[in-house]
């Protein structure tokens, strides 16, 4: 996969930066290798006295995974994480579910006991990386331009720049989107999908791919339950219907309610 991710326009490539950095293009050049530029010359000139307008057709069986290149890079990332005993967690949700707040609270709760690092993914701005930077944890921001998801190549580049410490937990906050990120493996150990009670309890049925690929589902903003039409029982039922193996957490990152279970889960992660 080209790291402009298909969605990025030319002239607006993916940027990876640390908070405070101004030269956004300093760490990489823009040489995308597309290894199939069909530019070959034919210098064997031969003459024919009859024409060849009957080329032979041939069927080639391929059976190749369309996402094979991304998956290969994801395996490479995964191998790197394994070698360094890093636990990489891919956090995915729709925009506004409270991913960054949850991450801030989680970092505060575990930073004394575990080494941490964060990769933030957004189309634009350094806002989230700056929020994480204030917690004192190393962070890089990936700006995907117009891209709707992170891919393994972006993570590879971000990890090089971030250099997460040995035995750390690496949080990867994906671009806010419940569809596209679900298709792209990054090399993570676990996938965590976050929904909030303001979103409706049928989210898992509407976006099954995301919930099927995840191992953990967090239902956030439970402090707002009295004010919204959200049936927790139904939401749990729907999430487990789509993926019976999902581990569910109900919490409010804002008030701290239910956070202890989640923190316990984080602290018991082993590479």
């Amino acid at each position: 996969m080209c790291d402009t991710c298909g969605c990025g326009q030319e002239g607006n490539p993916v940027r990876i930066s640390r908070p405070g950095e101004t030269d956004l293009h300093q760490d990489h050049s823009h040489n995308h290798d597309h290894d199939n530029n069909n530019s070959h010359t034919h210098d064997s000139v031969h003459s024919h006295d009859h024409s060849h307008d009957h080329p032979h057709q041939k069927m080639i069986r391929i059976e190749e995974d369309i996402l094979g290149k991304n998956n290969l890079l994801a395996s490479r990332n995964s191998g790197f994480f394994e070698a360094k005993d890093i636990v990489a967690l891919n956090l995915m949700s729709s925009p506004g579910s409270g991913k960054t707040t949850l991450l801030e609270r989680t970092i505060e709760a575990v930073k004394e006991s575990r080494k941490l690092a964060v990769i933030e993914g957004d189309q634009q701005t350094m806002n989230d990386a700056e929020r994480i930077h204030r917690t004192g944890v190393p962070v890089v921001q990936i700006n995907t331009g117009n891209g709707c998801h992170l891919d393994a190549e972006m993570i590879h580049r971000a990890v090089k720049k971030l250099d997460p410490p040995q035995e750390s937990i690496l949080f990867i906050e994906n671009v806010g989107n419940l569809v596209c990120p679900s298709l792209f493996e990054l090399g993570e150990k676990s996938r965590i999908v976050i929904i909030s009670v303001t979103e409706g309890d049928d989210k898992p049925l509407k976006y099954p791919t995301m919930f099927q690929q995840a191992q953990v589902c967090i239902i956030n903003k439970i402090d707002l339950l009295p004010y919204v039409d959200f049936n927790m029982e139904k939401a749990r039922e729907n999430a487990l219907a789509v993926n019976p193996k999902l581990e569910l957490f109900e919490l409010s990152a804002k008030t701290g309610e239910g956070m202890d279970h989640w923190i316990q889960w984080i602290l018991t992660r082993e590479p």
């Binding site: 969605c7 391929i62 290149k69 099954p208």
Partner: protein, 116 residues
């Protein structure tokens, strides 16, 4: 719009294979795409029409096989087509769904005109 990244991958892979087989022209690309793969078919068709530009696939016909979902109940091994509510197994009533088909994202084959 991850369909554009998917389309670009398809063009990358198919162009490479066509080149390896000394293709002069690619007449047909056959794809297996599962209904549950997370791909919007109309978006993919549009994305392909953009992604083929300036490649050997320009003008190629894409045959997209839509693979219907099929799941297996992990409890009683009954095979069934899941409904929109991903309801319980119609045979044993357990909620232990396992997809065995419907998530495909594969380039199946190419039909090429070979150079003489």
């Amino acid at each position: 719009m991850h369909e554009l990244s998917i389309a670009m991958s398809i063009v990358d892979i198919a162009s490479r294979k066509a080149d390896e087989a000394s293709a002069e022209k690619v007449t047909l690309v056959e794809l297996d795409i599962g209904i549950m793969s997370g791909i919007e078919f109309i978006s993919l068709e549009f994305a392909l029409s953009v992604a083929v530009k300036d490649s050997i696939l320009e003008g190629t016909r894409f045959k997209i096989n839509r693979i219907e979902p099929l799941c297996e109940c992990s409890s009683c091994n009954h095979l069934y087509t899941p409904g929109q509510d991903f309801g319980a197994c119609p045979e044993c009533g357990k909620q232990e769904i396992e997809f065995i088909r419907g998530k495909e994202l594969q380039i199946k084959s190419l039909l090429i005109d070979q150079k003489e």
